[in-house]
């Protein structure tokens, strides 16, 4: 149905909120209050260490090692944060924040995390700069996976197979990287991703098989094949699973900025490539002919078809470009990280990438932001283990997955995917 509800609030009419909207607002308000109470009890009263939390903002090897730490009295921090949250909760439940609701939500969550870190670090020191740098690194495969998903879903093809593309790309990167060089390995991984993407495209576009089924099957296939080949080939031939890892390239001058330098400008090319790709994709999607037509194919393929846009071609093309990007993400695990392939080493990162895509509202920049959030939770888990908090490591390991569920459950409100998402296009 293309006829919209013609009715607009006449002039400056009062905005009546739907029951669902009001319920969500109320739930968020209650959540703030609960969080406030929790922070007070767990982090304020339940302090585990004596004294202040020292957050290191530079590393000993940085340009300005004398840069002061951020010292925070952890108990006091907890009390302050709890008060702020309670205050926010009060406002949310009464007046509400209207269009600032999501921004306030993000700030509240940041405060919560800050209070948590303060509590965990009480009496000790914690390398904040290290953790942020780790965040950026960890977010790379997720961001690349999410970007791959964005490209695919913008033309209305659901890509569940990102996990398989990452894993397949990683395997090929390991194999090729061990026998030739890292750059060839990256290219090979990207081609692998594109090949798997081609399979997805063929089955969903040409044979019109359900897209989620195809994606799940591709994942199973890749998992089985890579595990099989690891056992058959790699385990008895160690020299085939020993690829060169690419060293980070520090950007001159920028790398010396205290705190931000190591976080943003001392990474390997995968990180830089990610940011570049996000920028390029955003521009291409919204300012070029290709982008306009791709988005049309995803929103209203029949309209695009009636105007002479080749829906099938755009679907194939974009899904495969997405595959190239996912393949790059797979190569990250090898050339950008550990240099060897292990069975199932992607561990659900592809699915987290999907969640990041949804969280980021199918926009490349949003997806990157979301990936950073997930990367943060992964990095946090690692650093917390070092800090010896009373939380068992298994629960820490659950953090990224719990965050994903919360995100997908609409904590950030309803998101609108491309209108034709998931529906095969049938030319009559």
């Amino acid at each position: 149905m293309t006829a919209p509800t013609k009715v607009e609030p006449a002039g400056g009419g009062e905005e009546q909120r739907s029951p669902a909207e009001m319920r969500r607002a109320r739930n968020i308000g209650i959540a703030y209050l609960v969080l406030a109470a929790f922070v007070l009890w767990a982090f304020g009263i339940g302090s585990i260490g004596e004294g202040d939390a020292a957050f290191k903002l530079v590393r000993p090897t940085d340009r300005f090692p004398g840069f002061p730490d951020l010292v925070v009295p952890s108990a006091a921090l907890a009390f302050i944060v709890a008060t702020v949250l309670a205050f926010l909760g009060g406002i949310q439940l009464t007046r509400g924040f209207k269009k600032w609701t999501n921004v306030v939500l993000a700030i509240a969550l940041l405060l919560f995390v800050f209070a948590f870190l303060g509590w965990a670090t009480a009496g000790k020191s914690f390398s904040l700069v290290g953790m942020m740098q780790e965040t950026v690194k960890r977010s790379v495969p997720i961001a690349l996976g999410a970007l791959s998903g964005v490209l695919s879903e913008r033309v209305a093809v659901i890509n569940i197979a990102i996990e398989g593309m990452l894993l397949g790309g990683a395997f090929v990167a390991a194999l090729v990287g061990s026998t030739t060089g890292p750059y060839l390995a990256i290219v090979a991984a990207m081609l692998t991703g594109a090949a798997l993407a081609w399979v997805l495209a063929v089955f969903s576009v040409r044979y019109r098989v359900d897209q989620i089924i195809t994606g799940v099957v591709i994942n199973l296939f890749v998992l089985g094949l890579t595990s099989f080949m690891t056992f058959r080939i790699l385990s008895s031939n160690a020299h085939l699973n020993n690829a060169e890892i690419l060293k980070p390239i520090a950007l001159p001058l920028l790398k010396d900025i205290p705190f931000l330098g190591p976080i943003l400008f001392q990474h390997n090319i995968f990180v830089y490539a990610t940011y570049l790709l996000v920028a390029v994709t955003t521009y291409a999607l919204f300012h070029t002919k290709w982008g306009l037509r791709s988005r049309a194919v995803g929103e209203h393929p029949r309209a695009a078809d009636t105007l002479g846009v080749n829906v099938y071609r755009y679907r194939y093309m974009n899904v495969m470009i997405g595959g190239l990007i996912a393949g790059l993400g797979g190569a990250y695990f090898i050339q950008g990280s550990v240099g060897r392939f292990d069975e199932n080493m992607t561990l659900g990162r592809g699915f987290i990438g999907l969640a990041a895509m949804i969280f980021g509202r199918w926009h490349p920049v949003g997806a990157l932001g979301a990936a950073l959030v997930f990367g943060f939770s992964e990095a946090l888990q690692g650093k917390l283990a070092i800090l010896q908090t009373p939380i068992p490591s298994e629960f820490l390991a659950m953090a990224p997955y719990l965050v994903t569920i919360v995100v997908v459950a609409g904590l950030v409100g309803k998101a609108r995917p491309p209108a034709a998402d998931g529906q095969p296009y049938v030319k009559e």
Binding site: T2, E299, H300, V309
Partner: protein, 501 residues
């Protein structure tokens, strides 16, 4: 310029959609293609536009045979089509929609939006089609959307403009405006093909009329001399009663009372504002109005599918405002939904399974947790016969049936219960004349047996013919209560457009 379709034939599995159709149209004339739903008009135009390929026959422009592999070729040959269901991307702006596929660019594929906007404004002024180039399409009213579709076609320098059922979503005033635009296009030398099933419009606007029935051209008519009944007879193949036979209503007690109902839609815009009305037993109340003025939301609320923000709905002495769909069913309300495939049926279910979709959970069709499939089948056999549902068996998926028979399944299911109130939304949309007649008869029959009937339809003729009392909805409010026997189309049109008579 002369466009000719010669001997076009198109077959679909089990159906001959177009049977050796010949058609000619020249620059500077408006040709109407008249036919009922299912006659093959849209198929024919889709072939012309390159969306389908004909099994036999050819398309010629100025005597030269054309081969269209797709819409791109048709567009290049100067053919432009405004589809019945708009082909606009809702989240794009007007300009983006207009240029899609023929985008002006600078550099390597970079869009030149400034230039695009300029061209859109130029066409807009030249043909008198007012639009805001930066408006987002899903936010503009339907009449304006149609203008965007026309600009799209003119942007591509079409010589032949095809309009498929363009007036379905317009008020009578907007139809007049639209006809003005058509005449302007004709006078500017374009060839216009106007596809419709509406007899009055055809007589008003056409230079020539071709009538299509069951895939064949059954005749030509001259608008100066033809009458509605002549055309109707050509369309259907037999004399058609254009008026619904019904005796006067004998209204009884009020069955449905709606008091100050307020409804908000998904995007928090008010859809229905403080609406009040009542429907008595033994009368048919019709709600007229252009699609998108709150009727859909109103019907959803009355049938339990949508919550209301304020006001109440009374059924007899009970407050049914917050009843669920099942609650409404149990209270004796029958609902013929506007979207039969999405709401009214489970298409993959068999005819028998669909016939118990409203009552499967109770005796006699289920005892506790167990379904009694024999009872379901018996019920289906009875209803299929009573309501003349054409199906090879009650065990085929309902998707196999034609639109008219699918609607009959819904009607059979809903009317065969003991109902106090019937709510029918667009009950005959997309149906052939025979089915339309049948359903109208059954509705009147229910009224005569004492049911209260509420009809919501954007087909003004239908609502006028069936109703005993007529209400008009505009922007979520009831703006008029009229006597269909005394009011004219033009007057209703004014109300539908928000004016006052």
């Amino acid at each position: 310029m002369e466009l000719e379709l010669r001997g076009i034939t198109k077959r679909f599995p089990g159906v001959l959609a177009n049977d050796s159709v010949d058609l000619t149209v020249r620059s500077g004339e408006i040709l109407s293609l008249l036919g009922e739903n299912g006659a093959g008009k849209t198929t024919l135009m889709n072939i012309l536009y390159g969306l389908y390929s004909a099994d036999e026959g050819s398309i010629l422009i100025d005597g030269e045979e054309q081969h269209f592999e797709g819409p791109g070729d048709a567009i290049a040959a100067g053919i432009g089509m405004v589809h019945q269901h708009f082909m606009l991307v809702p989240v794009f702006t007007v300009t983006e929609n207009v240029i899609l596929g023929v985008e002006p660019t600078t550099g390597p594929g970079v869009l030149s939006m400034a230039e695009a906007k300029r061209e859109v404004e130029e066409i807009s002024t030249r043909y008198g089609l007012k639009v805001d180039p930066d408006a987002i399409v899903e936010n503009i009213p339907v009449g304006v959307q149609q203008r965007v579709e026309i600009i799209k076609v003119l942007f591509r320098e079409a010589d032949v403009l095809v309009f498929d059922e363009p007036t379905a979503v317009l008020t009578p005033q907007e139809v007049e405006e639209f006809f003005g635009i058509l005449r302007g296009l004709r006078d500017a030398g374009k060839a216009v093909i106007f596809i419709t099933h509406k007899l009055r419009e055809v007589l008003e606007i056409s230079d020539r009329i071709n009538v299509l029935r069951r895939g064949r051209v059954v005749g030509e008519a001259d608008p100066a001399t033809a009458t509605s009944s002549q055309l109707a007879e050509m369309m259907v193949g037999r004399p058609v009663d254009l008026v619904v036979e019904k005796s006067d209503a004998i209204p009884g007690q009020p069955v449905l009372r709606v008091e100050d109902l307020v409804i908000v839609d998904e995007r928090d815009h008010p859809a229905v504002r403080a609406v009040s009305f009542e429907v008595k037993a033994g009368e048919i109340v019709g709600i007229a109005g252009v699609q998108g003025n709150g009727q859909t939301e109103l019907v959803e609320a009355l049938t339990g599918m949508r919550t209301v923000l304020g006001g109440r709905v009374m059924l007899g002495a009970d407050d049914v405002t917050d009843y669920s769909p099942r609650g409404m069913h149990r209270s004796g309300v029958a609902h013929v939904p506007e979207d039969r495939q999405r709401r009214g049926l489970v298409m993959s279910y068999t005819v028998a399974e669909n016939l118990v979709l409203d009552s499967y959970y109770a005796e006699p069709f289920s005892r506790g947790v167990i379904m009694d499939w024999d009872a379901v089948d018996d019920n289906a056999d009875t209803l299929v016969e009573q309501y003349d549902i054409r199906t090879p068996s009650v065990h085929v998926p309902t998707s196999n049936l034609s639109g008219g028979n699918q609607q009959k399944v819904i009607v059979a299911r809903e009317f065969s219960r003991n109902v106090k109130l019937i709510i029918a939304a667009q009950p005959t949309r997309g149906l052939d004349v025979g089915s339309i007649e049948y359903i109208h008869e059954r509705i009147v029959q229910q009224r005569d047996e004492g049911a209260a009937v509420l009809i919501v339809s954007t087909e003004l003729d239908e609502v006028m013919a069936l109703s005993d009392r007529l209400l008009v909805m505009y922007e979520g409010a009831i703006v008029a209560e009229l006597d269909p026997k005394q009011v004219t189309n033009a007057e209703i049109g004014v109300y539908m457009a928000g004016g006052r008579s």
